[in-house]
Amino acid sequence: MIAAVWLRAPARARLHALRELYRRFFGENTPDARGRRLLAEWLSPAQRAQFEEHRYFDVVGCDTGKSYRIHYGTAANVHEIDGAGHATMGWCFVPSGFLVPGDVMLAQKIALETDENGALALANRFPAATHSEHFYRRPF
């Protein structure tokens, strides 16, 4: 029996390594992963650090100076926040076309930082407490 385990181990190890390679290769080339990479490239260092730690980042609206928190997601993921970081209002606006979360978040960042009033004019508002923190912290 020991011999059988010993003989099977290398094959199992090889299979495991192959699976890991497959997972890494395709995991890093999925639309989701590409979207996250593009987002990371366009965030400021502070926003990137915040996103890596909390899966959200803050932006300042170019027209009003208000702060917004953009959570990882593709809908109902933007909150206006107060000075203490508490959500006061939700704003839902997304680029059309069923994009991946990283792309959606980047479009939202650019919109708020370069045309805040235009973005909010077409956004739908929702109560700040619609989703719990847990909702936004689900795995990638």
Binding site: G35, W42, A46, C92, V94, P95, I110, A111, E113, A123
Partner: protein, 73 residues
């Protein structure tokens, strides 16, 4: 090389071109007009994390990002 990045369902599609090549530059300008005409927003990175929107083709831009028209969710 300069790059035009178009957000899509694959994450993004990148179009690289040599800004010193007149034909490639003309193709890039045509792509810019087609995308913005279809409702895409064009943006440039002006610094780490800093962005600006552009309404007309910038032949000196190293990287231009396009995202589809925004809609209320």
């Amino acid at each position: 090389m300069a790059t035009q990045i178009v957000m899509d369902q694959t994450g993004d599609t990148r179009h690289e071109f040599d800004p010193g090549n007149a034909e490639a530059l003309a193709r890039a300008e045509r792509r810019f007009r087609e995308l913005t005409g279809a409702g895409f927003t064009a943006a440039l990175r002006t610094g780490p994390g800093e962005v600006t929107r552009i309404k007309s083709f910038d032949p000196t831009a190293q990287e231009t990002l396009f995202y589809p028209r925004l809609v209320g969710g």
